[in-house]
Amino acid sequence: MRRAGVVVLSLVALAAAAASWLAPNPPQRGFPDLVNAPPTRVRVWDGGPRTPFIYRQRLVSRLERTFANDTAQPIPLRWFDGGVLVTADPETGAPLLLFGADGYGRDIFARLVHGARLTLALALLATLGATALGAVVGSVSGYAGGRTDLLLSRLTEFVLVLPAIYVVLALRAALPLVVPPRTVFLSLAGIFVLLGWPTVARGVRAIVASERARDYVSAAEALGARPRRVLFQHLLPAARGHLVTQATLLLPAFILAEATMSYIGLGFPEATPTWGTMLQEAANAALLGDAPWALAPAGAIFLVVLGVNLAVQVRPRPPVDPQVQLDR
């Protein structure tokens, strides 16, 4: 199961990295006659087997959002054309829409893989920052002891009990409501780091404080190692496992935080594809109860969270039937 989680996460990361090669259409491009169009079906049977092709989707009723396939003219898929894995014929209005189109007629699949870049990059950056800050605060606190430890521990506990979502809201609202994507990226990353470090710090502090009393630390100190060397060369490696676990737990939390903020309109602007901004479209579709393909970003978030949960889970030993165990 652990391997399955790693595979899922790697696939998502690869898709994000290869976004411009995978996406059949540019993420910003809207097809005005294909608003909320369903996914294009790729066919291989036209009276007989043939190379993959699609039918052009023709708008039947804009009000009822119904589409029909123009079966008279099969459109062949073009492979490795123009630096793209596979595409159809966007120029004549028959694009390949693997996950359908959103409320502006944009390719949901293209936006999904392009959006993965910003969403994942933001989550990764914030995770790295929060883990690093937590490691520094925790190890200083655990190594120094005394008053420094007390102060830093209280600070950690305080941030930990703050109602996180309200703090994120308040901090984000302290900035102007409409800002360019770059500013959004940096400010959200900063806010997430400020709220994410305490869980890391608490664990690192406990590990460093207990390791500090061991003989190898005294040995290092007796050999004349300075505090910085003892801390980073000898003590912090002991917390490596904890750091990895915490980082993998923070990652999905930050992905969700970005999604929530963008979804409620306090994150990235609508035109920027991220999983959060795409959820706005998903919510519009959900309220109407049609276009289930618009829920694709929800599926993507679920995949990543599931992947992380599978990759880090420490499932207990399989439950033992009391009968079997007692009769042994």
Binding site: F158, V161, L162, P163, A164, I165, Y166, V167, L169, A170, L171, A173, A174, L175, P176, L177, L256, A259, T260, Y263, I264, L279, A282, A283, A285, A286, L287, L288, G289, D290, P292, L295, A298, I301, F302, V305, L306, N309, L310, P316, R317, P318, P319, V320, D321, P322, Q323, Q325, L326
Partner: protein
């Protein structure tokens, strides 16, 4: 025990004071203020009058001092957005959130623990199904569950897709109004409860598996205690400790999750109110919401700690000493 209790209440008060003050100062420092509500072309004297009316013409420190002094007497100022005292706006919203959170907590606890006891105490098909479902649900945060449920509700029409009451519910009699609310509660409550129930299932399952292997369970079985009695009366209470230890965290998750669920399902609760207040730069309302949110959170952790002391005598002794 009393010292422990007093310390926790004091900490809660400090938390509420800090959180609301921080929210106050942050919102005040943010660009833009209530005068943007006056429209595109307000006259300068109107802007000045509005600022003076809400104390915005004074420096932050002076404004905060005045507000804090009044807040100590439970007067949290006047909401710009609603033109009413903050308390009057805040209390109904807080009650709505509390209702949603309470239903979700009960559902999550009852469902999660029952499933966990089953999947943790016996091997077999049922346990495997429970474990698979919980592995999926634990990866579905409230943001996703509420979107999916709203979609399903809109598609099938089985439950109302949003809101707390139907249109025109104000004219209903009390009994019918309650029925109407009860009709609207399940969707957001379930969306909120599902991931927490899955977390509880995992913890309970793990704890149960450990306890079932203990010698005292074997001894009870040797005395001829029936299976059902063995699991629910002997093993289960002992396995509750890790659950109570995370209850405080779960209540925090409930509060964060309720914001998203309220937003998606248009539930008129604290989260929505805070969001509207922030967008309108309604300083006093933001501070009130922050105070109420941290109060909820502090109460949640306190309840979790007390329950932990109830089920684990060791914690009780530690707190006493």
């Amino acid at each position: 025990m009393r010292a422990f209790f007093v310390r926790r209440v004091a900490f809660a008060l400090v938390l509420v004071a800090c959180a609301s003050s921080a929210a106050f100062v942050l919102t005040r420092a943010a660009p833009g203020d209530v005068t943007t509500q006056l429209g595109a072309f307000p006259r300068p004297e109107e802007v000045a009058a509005t600022r003076a009316r809400f104390g915005l013409d004074r420096p932050v420190a002076a404004q905060w001092l005045a507000w804090a002094g009044r807040a100590l007497r439970f007067d949290f100022g006047e909401s710009f957005l609603y033109n009413r005292p903050v308390t009057g706006v805040l209390l109904p919203a807080a009650l709505n959130t509390a209702l949603l959170a309470a239903v979700a907590l009960v559902v999550a606890t009852a469902g999660g623990l029952a499933m966990g006891v089953v999947s943790g105490s016996r091997a077999g098909g049922v346990s495997a199904v429970i474990r698979a479902v919980s592995a999926v649900c634990v990866s579905l945060p409230p943001l996703l569950t509420s979107l999916i449920f709203v979609f399903l509700a809109a598609r099938t029409g089985w439950l109302p897709a949003g809101g707390m009451t139907s249109a025109g519910a104000g004219d209903l009699t009390w009994g019918r109004w309650l029925l109407d609310v009860a009709w609207h509660v399940p969707l957001p409550a379930l969306a909120l409860a599902l991931p927490i129930a899955a977390t509880f299932e995992r913890l309970q399952s793990q704890a149960m598996t450990e306890v079932v292997g203990e010698p005292f369970v074997r001894a009870a079985r040797a005395r001829g205690v029936s299976d059902l009695h063995l699991i629910w009366r002997h093993a289960w209470p002992v396995s509750l400790r890790p659950i109570c230890a995370v209850l405080g965290v779960a209540i925090g998750a409930l509060l964060s999750g309720s914001f998203v669920v309220e937003y998606v399902t248009t539930w008129p609760g604290l989260g929505r109110l805070m969001y509207e207040a922030l967008r309108a730069r309604d300083i006093y309302l933001v501070a009130g919401c922050a105070a109420m949110g941290s109060l909820f959170l502090a109460c949640g952790t306190l309840v979790g700690d007390l329950l932990l002391a109830v089920v684990d005598p060791r914690v009780r002794d530690e707190a006493r000493s």
